[in-house]
Symmetry: C2
Subunit: 177 residues, 2 copies
C-alpha cells in the first residue's frame, strides 16, 4: 500500500509517500519512503496563478505516485486569519484532486497525528521529526518541517488503517456501529 501524506499550504506544500511493502493490508511491514518533498509557489505571483500551479503539480504527483490513500491535515482555525485562509484554499485543491483519482482520502488533526506517531498528542515539532526519522530509518531528519509533517500524516494513516478497516468490517456485519 502507498500512502501519500500532504501538509497543505500555498507557499510550501509538503508531501511524503510511504510504502508499507505489502500489496494488501496483510503481511510484514517494511516501511520505505517512495517520495518526499515540497511544492513551492512564488510569492511574487498572484494568488490564482499560485493555486493553479500548485493544483497542476499536485495532480502530476498523484498521477506519478498513484497512492492507495491520501492523508491530509484536517484544518482548524488558527490565530493568523490570512494564513488560515490560504491553507484552506490549498487543502481544497488537495482533497479534490486526491478524491478525483479514486484514492481513499482521509483527514487527521495534528493531535491525532502526534498521538499515532509519537504516542503523545502534544509532542513538539522536533520530537515529531525525530520519530519520523527513526520509524522510516532516514539518515537525516526530514527537512523542512512541512516534509516531516507530511510523512507523519502518512505514518498516522498506516497506523490507523488496519483499525479503521476492522471497524468498517464489523459495522458492515452488524456487530458494531
Amino acid at each position: 500500500m502507498f500512502v501519500l501524506g500532504v501538509d497543505p499550504g500555498v507557499s510550501r506544500c509538503g508531501y511524503g509517500c510511504i510504502s508499507d511493502g505489502c500489496i494488501s493490508n496483510g503481511g510484514s511491514r517494511e516501511l520505505s519512503v517512495v517520495a518526499m518533498g515540497v511544492i513551492r509557489t512564488p510569492p511574487s505571483d498572484e494568488l490564482p496563478t499560485r493555486l493553479a500551479a500548485l493544483d497542476a503539480e499536485l495532480r502530476r504527483l498523484l498521477a506519478e505516485l498513484r497512492p492507495d490513500a491520501v492523508a491530509v491535515e484536517r484544518l482548524f482555525f488558527q490565530a493568523n486569519a490570512r494564513t488560515a485562509m490560504s491553507v484552506g484554499q490549498a487543502s481544497g485543491l488537495v482533497l479534490a484532486a486526491a478524491s478525483a483519482t479514486g484514492a481513499h482520502v482521509v483527514q487527521y488533526t495534528p493531535n491525532e497525528v502526534k498521538q499515532a506517531v509519537a504516542g503523545y498528542g502534544a509532542a513538539p515539532k522536533e520530537q515529531m521529526q525525530r520519530m519520523v526519522q527513526a520509524q522510516l530509518k532516514l539518515s537525516a531528519r526530514p527537512e523542512p518541517a512541512d516534509v516531516a509533517d507530511a510523512l507523519a500524516l502518512a505514518l498516522c494513516h498506516l497506523a490507523m488503517a488496519p483499525l479503521q478497516a476492522r471497524i468498517r468490517a464489523a459495522s458492515g456485519s452488524g456487530v458494531a456501529r
Copy 2:
C-alpha cells in the same frame, strides 16, 4: 466580453455569466445574462468527494462558457469558523480552475461589490437582488441569493474593468504607478 461571477461554497456555489455585447472593452454596452445557476453537492457525501464534484462541475462550466474574466468573492474570516473553512476550500478550487483556463481572475470584497452595484458599501441583500434584477432587466429577482451574489460580482467587474485597464495602461506608460 464574458464575465463569470462565482460565489464560492461547498453546499451551494452560485455562478452567473454576463456578456456586455462587446468583442473588446469598447462600444455600446448591452448587458445580458449568458448563464446563471447554483452548483450543489450533497451533504451526505464526504468532503473530498463533494470538493471533487464541485471542481469537475466548475471546470465543465468554464470550458463551456470560456469567460474572459472570472470574478470571485474575496474571503475574510467569518463568525462561523466551520463555514469559513469550507468556503475557503471552495474558493481555492474556483481560483485555480479559472486561472488554469487563462482567464483574468479577480477578487472583490463584498463591500466593493455592493459599492459598485448599489452605490452603497453596506447595501442589504434584498436591495442588491433588486439592483441586479434592474441592471440585467431580469423578469424576476435572481434566486437563491447565491446566484444574485454571483451576478453582482460579474457586474462589479464590468464596472471596474475599464478603470483597471486605464490604470494598467497609465502605469505601463510611466504616467502613474
